[in-house]
């Protein structure tokens, strides 16, 4: 009894803490700007969420009304994928603070677990996923009001499963990526996974040449497999109730509950380790014999000063040691795989990339720019207290920022090259016109992105831990501004390609992009030249934010 009261007191104290942090944050002008940005970003998400809500509501109503409740799985699978994939794809836009700071207090493990789940619930993916599930619930209830209690219980369990799975995936991936050896294994597995996709095309072709029954059988197997997975189980639990097969439906619900418990157990293993003070460092066992260490001479960057080269080298080392960051950076290739196999695959008869496979490279390049958001728009976040070193050193901020931008550019180029190779493998080699138009598009987009990113990095910084996956605070101002810039870039890109395709001449897009690059590149140089003054002007808030414990 006393411990329950004690725990309740702690949880309300944590809620109060978060509230006071929010209120106290409004004391500064930046804090107020953050609030305005948060409102706008939330409204944007809500707009998207309402679309999902309406679609989920309408579709689920249709299925239940027409006695096809089994097809609810078709609505639940997208919700499931969105809930699990969105936080990984859009880490720059998710705000999921680290709860391990609370461990200094006599917090019980149960409270720690609850707090971690509660923090996860406020992730945009969870909020939007929940909104879609509410839509499904309303759709089902409108079609058959008596199904409400069953649907409510099943969808609550489904929501809990998603919430727990998301946290489990994050915490385990973070664990695997923390050590160099497991990171390498992870990398090899990913490459094997990618290569295995190459076998799917020929296999599918062979299957298509053979008589239809085999393909039909494969579809049947897939349907059966999905039925024992969470979205299928949730759909089945509701569908069986429509046929008054309550025991069968209950069994599906029970199975879903068991999967939730299993995921919860895996999460428990990770959180328990964190609760006991696990340190995910890369320290090797202390050597018994002192290792002889040769001189580690720094890198040289032809054409750039010592300090720019030093910053570039430091940035490369930071990214190379950050498993979560590396994972984010290979996402464009992963997305190409998803497009290759997903509903937009050219192996199917419809789909965007089937109609326009030449857009695969520009799309991947645009996504490569998007995944840089975390790095570009908060480039000092990972430096934390090191920002004081930059201010104490006899080096101008334009050189520091240039060093950082060189890394961003290098990653962008590498990612685009990889995307080119992947597109060649998946869709056939892009034509020279597409390749050059993509390159020209990057020449326009990258300077614009870097300019906005450099300014935001100084005006709205947030301390960032490169070692943790998710569990980061993000500046809402940065989220809003980066979203705006990305929309402009993608909008201009789509418009340029659309015009070029309309006139059946992609060189038009090249000209448009190069003309725009003549504006964005000088803009980048102009802002870079002003960096020293801007950094001095923003010295105190920048140091205060990044040196915060």
């Amino acid at each position: 009894m006393t411990s329950t009261v004690h725990r309740r007191g702690q949880l309300s104290a944590i809620a109060y803490l978060r509230w006071r942090m929010f209120v106290n944050g409004l004391r500064t002008r930046r804090g107020k700007m953050e609030l305005v940005s948060r409102i706008i970003v939330t409204a944007a998400f809500a707009f998207g969420g309402l679309g999902g809500f309406a679609a989920a509501l309408g579709t689920s109503w249709y299925f239940v009304e027409h006695d096809k409740a089994e097809f609810l799985a078709a609505v639940l699978w997208p919700v499931f994928f969105f809930w699990q994939v969105f936080p990984v794809m859009a880490t720059a836009f998710t705000n999921n603070p680290d709860s391990s700071d609370l461990l200094r207090f006599p917090l019980s493990y149960r409270s720690f677990f609850v707090v971690r789940l509660a923090y996860g619930f406020f992730d945009p993916a969870s909020t939007l996923g929940t909104l879609a599930l509410i839509g499904i619930l309303i759709g089902i209830t409108v079609a058959r009001p008596l199904l409400f209690p069953v649907a409510l219980v099943v969808l609550l369990m489904f929501a809990l499963f998603n919430l727990v799975l998301m946290q489990t995936v994050f915490s385990w991936v973070e664990r695997w990526l923390a050590q160099r050896r497991t990171r390498e294994i992870f990398g090899v597995l990913f490459i094997l996974f990618m290569l295995s996709f190459q076998l799917i095309g020929p296999t599918m072709e062979r299957l298509q040449k053979k008589p239809r029954p085999e393909l039909q059988k494969a579809v049947e197997i897939t349907t059966r497999v999905q039925a024992v997975l969470p979205p299928g189980l949730a759909a089945d639990a509701i569908a069986q109730s429509t046929h008054a097969e309550y025991m069968v439906g209950f069994t599906s619900l029970l199975f879903l509950g068991t999967l939730t418990l299993a995921m919860g157990y895996l999460l428990h293993l990770r959180l328990r380790a964190q609760f006991r003070g696990e340190n995910l460092s890369e320290v090797e066992a202390r050597p018994t014999v002192v290792q002889a260490q040769g001189l580690q001479v720094g890198w040289e960057l032809p054409g750039f000063s010592q300090s720019v080269a030093a910053v570039f080298e430091k940035e490369i080392r930071y990214v190379a040691r950050s498993g979560p960051m590396l994972l984010t950076l290979i996402m464009p290739i992963f997305m190409l795989l998803v497009f290759r196999l997903g509903p937009m695959s050219p192996m199917r008869h419809s789909g965007l990339l089937n109609r326009a496979p030449d857009m695969a490279l520009p799309g991947a390049a645009a996504y490569a720019l998007l995944v840089l958001t975390n790095l570009v728009y908060n480039s000092f976040g990972g430096d934390a207290g090191g920002i004081q070193f930059f201010y104490a050193a006899p080096v101008g901020f334009r050189q520091i920022v240039l060093g950082k931008n060189l890394l961003h550019g290098a990653i962008l180029v590498a990612n685009t090259l990889l995307a080119w190779l992947a597109v060649t493998l998946f869709y056939g080699a892009p034509t020279p016109a597409v390749s050059i138009a993509t390159l020209a598009g990057l020449l326009f987009a990258a300077p614009l992105n870097f300019t906005a990113g450099n300014l935001l990095s100084i005006y709205a910084p947030k301390k960032r831990d490169f070692a943790t996956f998710g569990r980061q605070n993000v500046s809402q101002t940065t989220v809003l501004a980066s979203l705006g810039v990305q929309i402009v870039i993608v909008g201009v890109g789509v418009a340029a390609f659309a015009i070029a395709r309309f006139y059946k001449n992609l060189w038009i897009a090249v000209l448009v992009f190069l003309a725009l690059a003549l504006i964005t590149f000088p803009l980048y140089v102009m802002v870079l030249r002003r960096m020293d003054d801007i950094a001095i002007e923003r010295r105190e808030p920048l140091i205060a934010e990044l040196c915060r414990a």
């Binding site: 890369e282 290792q291 001189l295 010592q306 080392r317 207290g385 201010y391 101008g396 490169f466 010295r539």
Partner: protein, 269 residues
């Protein structure tokens, strides 16, 4: 002939909104001095050292280091000074060698010299036995030693240290002290803040005391001692009867301070 002071501040003031953290501080630190800057918590020590190193802009006043106005020549000044600020200013995801090499290059050393000095410093600071260890995994004492190594890698003429001995064990403190004394012997000037008065007394030749943002005393230890003894009435028990005052006694005498009664916080223990 007396040489020009290494550090001069005139009317140095810093306000945070309504709060005046540092007010009208006039400091003079001569070349080769080991200068201790003392004060109770919240007195303005860290604010002052931040202003002296370019980490914080003064609201008013002037700072001159090595004959150069800091606001007019920040880069030239920074090239000749070394800093260990309050938060140590480390890059956690680098190894010790990588960080020192990076620091050296940022201070204008060529790649080979930076690497060579980094190796020497790691060896001197006894940090060389785990070359793959990231700075974030270092203990607090190891981080302090590394921060000091980074501050001296370019051979600065003036070194600013904010609480360099805080959280450092006796062995590490010994290493730091021997390095600092070596620098003083070679003509460098060191400006240090510390709460450990015994260390300041042992190391520093000159001391300034700041209290509630104002400089309340400045001079050599002997000058401060003489000043306090002159003010202390005979028989007060504060070393007045020819007994040599410790720095702690001088500090308490200047800053004041009250002992709380045992009755307070009676629920403790």
């Amino acid at each position: 002939m007396q040489s020009a002071p290494t550090i001069i501040t005139q009317g140095l003031t810093r306000r945070f909104g309504e709060l005046v953290a540092v007010e009208g501080v006039d400091l003079r630190v001569a070349p080769g001095q080991f200068f201790g800057f003392l004060g109770p918590n919240g007195a303005g020590k860290s604010t002052t050292i931040k202003m002296l190193t370019g980490l914080l802009a003064p609201s008013a006043g002037r700072i001159e280091i090595l004959g150069l106005d800091l606001s007019a020549h920040p880069v030239e000044v920074k090239r000749q000074i070394g800093v260990v600020p309050e938060g140590m200013a480390l890059f956690g995801r680098l190894t010790g060698a990588e960080f020192l090499s990076f620091a050296g290059r940022m201070y204008g050393l060529d790649r080979e010299t930076a690497a060579k000095r980094a190796a020497e410093l790691l060896d001197f600071m006894q940090l060389a036995d785990q070359p793959k260890k990231l700075v974030t995994d270092y203990s607090h004492g190891m981080q302090k030693k590394l921060a000091l190594a980074a501050a001296v890698i370019h051979g600065p003429k003036v070194l600013f240290l904010d609480e360099p001995f805080e959280g450092v064990d006796a062995i590490a403190a010994g290493t730091l002290k021997s390095m600092l004394q070596g620098m003083i012997a070679r003509g460098a000037t060191i400006f240090l803040t510390s709460h450990v008065l015994e260390i300041v007394e042992r190391l520093c030749s000159h001391v300034a005391i700041i209290h509630q943002g104002r400089l309340v005393a400045q001079g050599s230890l002997e000058e401060l001692r003489a000043g306090v003894q002159a003010k202390t009435p005979a028989g007060s028990g504060d070393g007045a009867a020819g007994e040599k005052l410790t720095l702690e006694q001088i500090f308490l005498s200047i800053v004041g301070g009250t002992r709380r009664t045992e009755q307070e916080l009676s629920w403790l223990g």
